[in-house]
Structure formats: C-alpha cells, structure tokens
Symmetry: C2
Subunit: 613 residues, 2 copies
C-alpha cells in the first residue's frame, strides 16, 4: 500500500465487459507518479503507431494523482490520456471540478478503458464497485441532461463525466465534460471522440472512501500555512481568467482575427470586468480550490439566452471572441454553453470557426458549402451556428469537425496557410510573437500547440520562479536561454499534471512553489522526494511522451510553428514587430534536453532517465 | 523583324510530327525578352496544375535570347523551361557551351516541344530547316556517344544536345547535356526526364545564318571596351570555379556531410589548385566567353580512369565531394564524367547520394536495399557506384532516381529530416547559414533551392553592385534589408537568364554591370531600354514564375528551408553559430515584392507589371 494512492487502477474492457484492476508497484508509481505521467506509461506500453485512435485498440485513460482528494490546495483535478484522433499522436487533456477526487474516493487511482461496447453504455462506480450499464436513455443527449438523469438514477451526490453529441459523432475536437452544469472540460485532443468511439457515454461516480495520507498532521499544518498566502496573492477570484483579456490585447498576446492582427477594440465588451458587470451570477471553485477562477453565468434574455451554468474562460473568449472578431459576450457565452452541452473543446472549435471565416473570406469555403450561411468575421450568429454545425457535423460543420488542420488539408492550397496549429492541435489564445518561449513551447509540446506544457506565458512577462533560477523573469523577446527555460518549465509542469495540481497555484506561492508542493507530496506519500528527484521525474515523463511521438515519426521537422507566426507580424499593439526565431531556440532546447539534432532523445539521456530499452 | 532575334520559335509536336513556327510580336519580346522569360510565358499559357510533367501535354522549351550569338561577352547560353517532374512546379535549367548560339544561327530563337513520339527520335536543324529523325541507333547510348554518332552523320561542325540513359529512364534528376565531351549541362529540375518522356533523344544543330544586330559598329565598340576589363578582373581562368572550394569551407559556405558539419579537411585534395596540379588538361571557354572557367580533365589511370572531358565544377565538388565526405578528386571526376555521360544533374545526384549515406547511417536504408553496398560516408567507390545505380535505376538507385525529397517521403519518418531541399529541389553547394540572403533566395526561388535566381552568395561577402545600391556589400548575417536585396537581385538575374548572359560577367564589370549590358542589348535590338525598364522586366518575369507556382498551390508555407538549416548550427568554422531567421526576411521580402501575407502577388502588383488578368 503506497500512501496517497488507492493502489488500484480499474481496467474496463468494453468489448467483452471484463472489469479488472491493475496494481502498480511503488517503484512504478514513484517513477511516473500518476495523472499525465502514469497515463503516458500505460499508453506507451499498450498502443503504438499502428493503433487507430478511434479503434477499439486505443486506450482511454482517466487518471488521478497521489495528492488528488487530499487537503492539498488546488488538487481537484483528473487527467485523460489517449492517442489523439485529432492529431494522430500523443494526446492528453485534464479537467477540474470534483470528478477526479470523487473517482479516487470511489477507490480507484484511475480507469483504463479498452475495446468497444456493442451498444451505448456508461460506467457506474460506487465505493469500490464498478458496473457497466445500459446507456440507451442517455445516448443522443447533451452533457447537462446526462448529468441530470444520472443524478436522478444514482442520487444527487454523485459526480459524472460524459460526452455530448459531438463525442458520439466522433467529432475530432470533442471534449469530455464533468460536473454537469458547471461545464468543466477535459477539452483538448479530441478525447471525447475516443470515448464516443467506444460507445461509452458517461462515468458516474460516488465515493466516500478515505484517501490514505502518510502524515495527516503535517499535511494539515503545511496546508494551513500555505493556503492563506495563496488566497492573498491570487488575482483570479474577482474577475476570473478573463480579467486578463484587455492586458493580453495590449501587450500582444491575444489572438485577433485568426492571429493576423495586433489589436481589437472589441475587448472592451468581452473581458472579465465586463462579465462581472453583466452575465456573471457566481464563482465556481473546483474541489480544494481557494481561488475560484471559475465563472457561473446566465444570459437571461434575447437570442443568446442560456441556463445558469459555467461561463467562458480566457481561452474561450480569446479564441471565440477576439480571434473571430466577435465582441458580443452573450454570444460567446451561448457558444460556450453549447460547447459544454455538446461536449466540444472551445479552443479547437473556436479556432476552426476563425479558420472557416478566413477561408470564407478567401473564397475557399463558399456559401454553397455552408448551407447558405455567410461566414463573416465578427458575426455572433455565425459563431453560435457553427458550434451547432460542428457538433452535429452539419454541412460545413462536417469538415470542420475533423479539426482545423485536417480541414485545411482537405481544402488544400492556400487554406493550409491560415490553419493555426502545431502537429494538428490548434493554438490556444496565446501568441508566440508576444513571448517567444511560448513559441518554443508550442513547437515542442507532446500534444501540439499547448500552453499548459510549460505554462510560461506569464513567466516571460514578469512573474518569477526563483526555485528554477528565474528570480527575474527573462525578457519576452530574448531568444538566448529560452531552450533551458522552456525545458525546465515543461519538466515542472509535467509534475503538476501527474500529481495533479492546478497550475494557478504558481501565482500564489512566490519563492517556494516546488518546496511547498514537495512538502504536501511527501506528507501525503511518506516519500522523501527531493527537488532533484522532482525535476528528474518531470523530465522522465516529458521524454516518455516524446518517445511515444517518435514512434509515430515525429521529429524536428514537426517541431515548428505555422508560417503566419514565423513570418507575419501582428503589425500593431504591444508586440507589433516581433517574430520568434524558432531555429535558434530549438537548437538550444535540444541541447539542454539531451536530444540529438533530429529531436530524438539520445541513448545517454534515456539511460539517465531510466527509459533505456 | 525585331533585331537581335531570328523572329521565329520552332514548334515541334512529337505526337503527330507537325513542325510549325511561332512569331512573337515586338511587344511580347520586349515584355518577356527571351530565355527564361519567354519560356515562362509559353509554359504559363500552355500548361497548368493538371499537366503531368512526364505526360505529352507538358512543354519542353529551349530558348535563346536577343544577345545570344552576338559579339556580347559571355552570351553563349540557352535556357530550358518546363514543368518539373522532380518538383511538380515551375522548372528551368540553363547551359553554356555553343548549343545556344548555334541554335540561333540555325534560324530559331527557340524550340517548343509538345506531345510524345511513338518511338525514339531526334531533331535535326540545319539553317532554317527542321526534321524529326529516327533515333533507334542512339537510344540506350550515353551523351558522348550520341554526340559522336550525330557528328559522324551530319558533320564535325554541328552542335548537339541530348539525354543519356538517365533521361531515357525518366530519372527525375536527369539533365540535358550539350557539346559532347565538354559535358555542358542544363542540369536541374529533371529537364532530361521530360525529354526522355517525349522519346526525344537529341537535337543536332547546324547554322551559319547571320544574327541581325541593330547597330553592329556600336556593338563592336562597346564590347571592345568591356572585354579587356572583364578579362583583367576575372579570377576564374586559372583555377576555375573550384578555386573557391577552400575559401568556401573556411568561411562556412561549403556543405559538409550533407550540411551537418562546419569543416572538412579533405578540401585540400578536391580544390581547383589541386586539380590544376593533377588532372587538369586544359580550359574550356563557352562561346563568346573571355573567362574560361570550364575545366577539361583526364584521369589517366587507376580505377577512376576517365576520357579527357569536362571536369567537375565547384557545385559538383561541393556536393559530391565535401557533402559526401569524399576527398578523392579522381573519384569525383569519374562520378562527374558518368553524370555527363548518363545525363544527370551532378547537384541533385550528389545530394541524393549524401542523403542516402545519412539514411544508411541511420538504418533507414539497409544493405538489403543497396544490393549489398555499404553506403559509408566518404567512400569514393560508393559515390561512383551510386551514380551508376541512379542512372540505371538499379536497386536503391531506383528510389534515389525519384529525387531526394521524393525518396525521403517514401522512406518516411526521420528520413525527411535530412532531405536538404526546398520545394523538392536539392540545395546546391551554398549554405544559408553562411549568408542569410542565400536562405531567402532558396526559400523564394521559383524552382526551389536555386543559387542562380539571385546569385547573391558573393554579394553578401564583399562583392559590390553599386547600380543596385550596394556600393558596400551587406553583412552576410544581417537580416535587415535582405528582403529588398534578394528581390532586386532576383529581378536582375531573371534578366540575365532571359537575354541570356552568363552570370560570371558580374565579377568583371564593377560599377557598370547593368549599364554595360543595357548598352549591348540596345545596340543589338535598337531599343532604348532604360535601367528602370530593365528592372521592371526582370520583376515581371519573376512574378510570372510565381504566378505559375501559385496555380500549383505554392504559397508562403512552401517558402521555407529544411529544419537542419533553420535549427542546426554548422558548429565549427567560419559560420559556426549563425542560423538564418527566415521569417523576418520573408516578411520584408513579401512587402518589397508587393505580395500579400500568403506570398501571392497582389492585384496592384500584377497591374504594375502588366500581368493582371
């Protein structure tokens, strides 16, 4: 029994309905921790380049980590790992809310789905018991309804995750949603389509089993010490993540018109302050969260009327708002609500919509292809309509449901010019021309253009991380040193994703981020994990993801950015003239990582990390 | 009758054997000049994205220009334009020797081949008469033999061009060779395969018709004035183009080990000085040349024994020598002789060999695929063997005969990492990390990685061109201003390729390069072409090539460089640390060109150039 863990991972083969458990040794757990790390280990061992992401042989892995469900602040998350049907390579997504801790309290560190059911099913977990159940009455319904019906069936205190119609229809940007109306999403990489491909509609969980903690008293003391500091330092509570919209536009981080412009006056009506004045009804805290960046909103009337439910975050507003030139917050909230209901990644869906608008402008997508809809920039009706079309694969939505990069490939020619993605994953609302490390991060992240793998965008514009040697934030346009910078942060953030911690914790803990986390981890597990082991473990996890991608033919040629980001300036605003010189950074990055010039980890590096064959 | 022209282009339809002539108006001639320009105009009008490069509908266009065959110094060239079977887009290649002027003296400004013969043929041109002849006795023979046999048939004073076995076998890096043993080559873009696809083995030409010149006396005076200056300033006579091998290695321009290293000690035995001391027998002057950079060599004994014939140039030595780590000049001379015989582009062939060596090192090409041959770096036997295998499509040669980029695509995965090309055309022996404008040139040239489209490599390391505003050579690593720099030189060099002048003339004429050329052109044609018209015409020709490529889906995404060049440093030597920041240069380049952010010429630009639809 390793403390901090429930010491069993549930294995569900949907083809034959066999339910088993898998136990990992302490050595394995300490090597891969949980969440993203342990999920990657399982995916790496059980799938490869011949695995069809939407075939029964793919694995859909839900994972918690050792601190999930403990007293540790911001530990209420779970991680999904799978081979992505959007990108064809390593895929992962994570989500907050209460599903992760509840899964653990139900007695499992995670669930690995394999196979494919012969009819729609859901999994019902209740304090150590697991049951595959008929989901005929759930199929075809949205995630809000599924949550409601499952609560009617199993009781109000259960937690659910599910897919909406998008996942059922194998939309490659489909998400897995949890916590019902709150609309928490494991959004990226089309994880919802994998769930759909297995005819798995939902997971309902109820659990109140104790989570073993090695040193309860110490844990309580440590959390008591840190929590008020975090609360004091956080900026999220009042205006949520979209408090940053205006600043991001000013500095040059916010995408405007599919990443082709520098400024957007419309930010005045789509930011967090405006939201607080208009549609905000309350805040949402994930389990063990002391910040409450989550928004609950309601559009009470008009054509964009919504129910009271989870509101749009910074990323959603950046991509569905400014990147589409939409300045109507109610329309964005409606589009967001629909994404939550249908189970769609708001980032990739919004990105596909901005792409479609630009393709329409260039005559590549025509009125004949859209069912008569004119995809004009900034039209809020178009935004809402396209979400609907993508979720149900209606006319042009069928193409966009394949994801921006795939759609661009099908359209051919010029269309691939403004498909803003890396390795098939659409950009989130952060611009590498604003902070060049973001470009290196996007180019090298295992899942493609991901802002969470190094989570450095704020660390290049003033936030410090002394434990990593950044008592001063590096200049956002300086190339030198960014290789090491991004690699270090990727290693650290891989640990966040494996333990699992919400990354917003970094803003609150100042000089002792890792030290604080280590305190909690060691109090929970009883381990004596050092700073060095923490870093090395993060590095191991990152390299294992890379090895998985290398099996799929990924190398340096794929570690790149779209031509628009490399060549086209924003033109106005706070990052008007900067273009990231990716080549220079990439070379330093490989060197620091101990990868060869092709971007393949060397034998020596693998030996150091205990990953050598 | 426009002076300087023979005022007819021969049109040969090989399908039905119909031979006609086409006359261009003075307006058309002045707009597109000849050579590359007029060839492009014909290709643009008669082929498109649906044309199979190896199908009968492709055009194979041989073109001279208005000053070809006149007294003008360095004017003994011809140009071949076609849709490239190597790259699938715009293709061109040009060659010196005496074929171009002879074609003109035979009464034609050019020949446009269309269709496909039903058995091997050659074209016999004799003072205004044209005849398609049976080539059964030539098919299967190398270009030296073909030249010999055709001279036996038609007389010693004819000039021939032909394809060898490589062109017959549709090897996509096959060249068209002329002037028999001298081995002059229209080498690039697989023009020889197009000739082979039409079952056209050779063209034999005899002509002594006068070339009309508007002002003979002025022409004589002007040439008399310029020629001695050129002779005095040229550095080529004594040691040929490969006088530059050692300097190129030192400064960081020479490819080493498929562009992966900075230095190569082997340059000591593969440079022009060493050649002069060993295998050089005499120098070769193209018609009207006063420099004589051409080498005639003979390896008199040993396993690399050759006949006395055209020797390897700088590009050949750079790619077949240092880039393959081969330091045996006799082996390079032998490989060069075989390329000349079989009709292969030494650059793309050598590049495919370097690529194969690296693929072999990485286990991607195996001994099973090579017929037992171990493709070890630097092995001179491997170099010679692979030329043979490529020409005859033997075992691994069959794959390499598709060209490096295509072979890499077939091999997949890591192989595409070290395929050093742009748009499918292999790099010549110039490294963009040595002079960043070279990178911009490679990225934007119509035919792919071409060192002749702007011909700027020496203009970034000291050579000046005051008439273009470069009284001082720009710094080779400076990015600023390189957009304008490359665009201007491409416009000028497009005029060189259309008139046609050998580009080496630039080294001799100092401050009055264009002025001198304009003097000759106007004396020949009787026009009053100004500096501005000269530049605008060059710009028009360059843009027409771009438009042709745009029809084929080419845009900014294709204007790039291989990852190795963008990301991987040479590491040692004179350009150890520099990596070209292509994005910055490309943006300036598009702006200067009047192209939109996708790299498409704007309507306004096309109107300015008289190219608007």
């Amino acid at each position: 029994m390793v403390k901090g863990y429930m010491n069993q991972v549930l294995r569900v083969d949907l083809t034959d309905g066999r339910i088993t458990t898998q136990i990992f040794s302490e050595e394995e757990l300490r090597k891969y921790i949980g969440g993203s790390g342990l999920g990657t280990k399982i995916l790496f061992d059980e799938t490869d380049q011949f695995t069809d992401p939407l075939g029964p042989e793919n694995r859909l892995i839900f994972m918690t980590g050792p601190i999930v469900g403990t007293k540790a602040v911001n530990s209420g998350r779970y991680h999904v790992v799978t081979k992505s049907p959007l990108t064809g390579i390593y895929g992962e997504a994570d989500s907050g809310g209460t599903f992760g801790p509840e899964l653990k309290r139900a007695g499992f560190d995670g669930i690995v789905f394999s196979g494919k059911a012969d009819h729609p099913v859901y999994l019902w977990l209740n304090n150590g018991k697991a049951e595959i159940r008929e989901a005929k009455n759930l199929w075809g319904r949205d995630t809000f309804e599924v949550d409601r019906i499952l609560k009617e069936t199993h009781g109000k205190d259960i937690v659910t995750c599910s897919i909406g119609q998008a996942g059922e229809k194998l939309v490659r940007v489909a998400a897995i949603m949890n916590d019902g109306l709150e609309g928490r999403a494991a959004g990226r990489c089309g994880v919802g389509a994998v769930m759909g491909s297995k005819l798995l509609k939902a997971i309902a969980v109820h659990g109140n089993m104790p989570i073993p903690v090695a040193n309860e008293a110490e844990m309580a003391t440590l959390v008591k010490k840190a929590a008020p500091v975090i609360v004091k330092n956080t900026a999220w509570t009042k205006y949520g993540t979209s408090n940053g919209i205006q600043g991001a536009e000013q500095i040059g981080n916010l995408p405007v018109r599919n990443f082709s412009r520098g400024n957007f006056a419309g930010v005045a009506t789509i930011n967090g302050y405006y939201m607080a004045d208009t549609i905000l009804t309350k805040r949402f805290y994930c389990e063990k969260c002391v910040m409450g960046c989550g928004r609950t909103v309601e559009v009470k009337e008009g054509k964009y009327k919504t129910v009271e439910s989870g509101g749009p975050e910074y990323e959603t507003i950046g991509i569905m708002g400014s990147s589409c030139l939409v300045e109507d917050l109610c329309a964005i909230a409606k589009a967001n609500e629909l994404c939550n209901r249908y189970g769609l990644d708001t980032i990739s869906t919004g990105s596909a919509i901005a792409f479609a608008m630009e393709a329409y402008e260039n005559g590549i997508i025509t009125k004949k292809m859209t069912g008569g809809l004119e995809l004009n920039w900034g039209d809020p009706d178009v935004l809402v309509s396209l979400v609907e079309k993508i979720a149900f694969r209606k006319d042009i939505g069928d193409l966009l449901a394949e994801g921006t990069a795939n759609a661009a490939k099908t359209l051919g020619g010029l269309a691939t010019e403004f498909a803003i993605h890396v390795k098939g994953l659409d950009f989130p609302a952060h611009d590498p021309r604003n902070a060049v490390g973001t470009g290196l991060q996007f180019a090298t992240s295992a899942r493609g253009a991901c802002h969470l793998s190094s989570f450095t965008h704020d660390f290049e514009i003033g936030v410090t991380f002394p434990e990593l040697g950044y008592s001063k934030s590096p200049d956002r346009w300086e190339l030198k040193g960014k290789g090491e910078f991004i690699a270090k942060f990727q290693n650290v953030m891989g640990m966040f994703d494996s333990l699992i911690f919400c990354k917003f914790i970094v803003y609150g803990l100042g000089d002792e981020i890792i030290k604080t986390m280590l305190g909690w981890v060691n109090a929970t597990t009883g381990w004596d994990m050092s700073f060095d082991e923490f870093m090395l473990t993060g590095e191991r996890i990152f390299n294992l993801k890379r090895l998985y991608n290398v099996k799929h033919g990924i190398s340096r040629k794929d570690d790149t950015l779209p031509p628009r980001i490399l060549n086209h300036k924003r033109g106005t605003g706070g990052a008007a003239d900067n273009l990231p010189h990716l080549g220079l950074m990439l070379n330093d990055y490989y060197q620091y990582r101990g990868w060869d010039e092709f971007g393949i980890p060397t034998e020596l590096t693998l030996q150091k990390l205990g990953l050598a064959a």
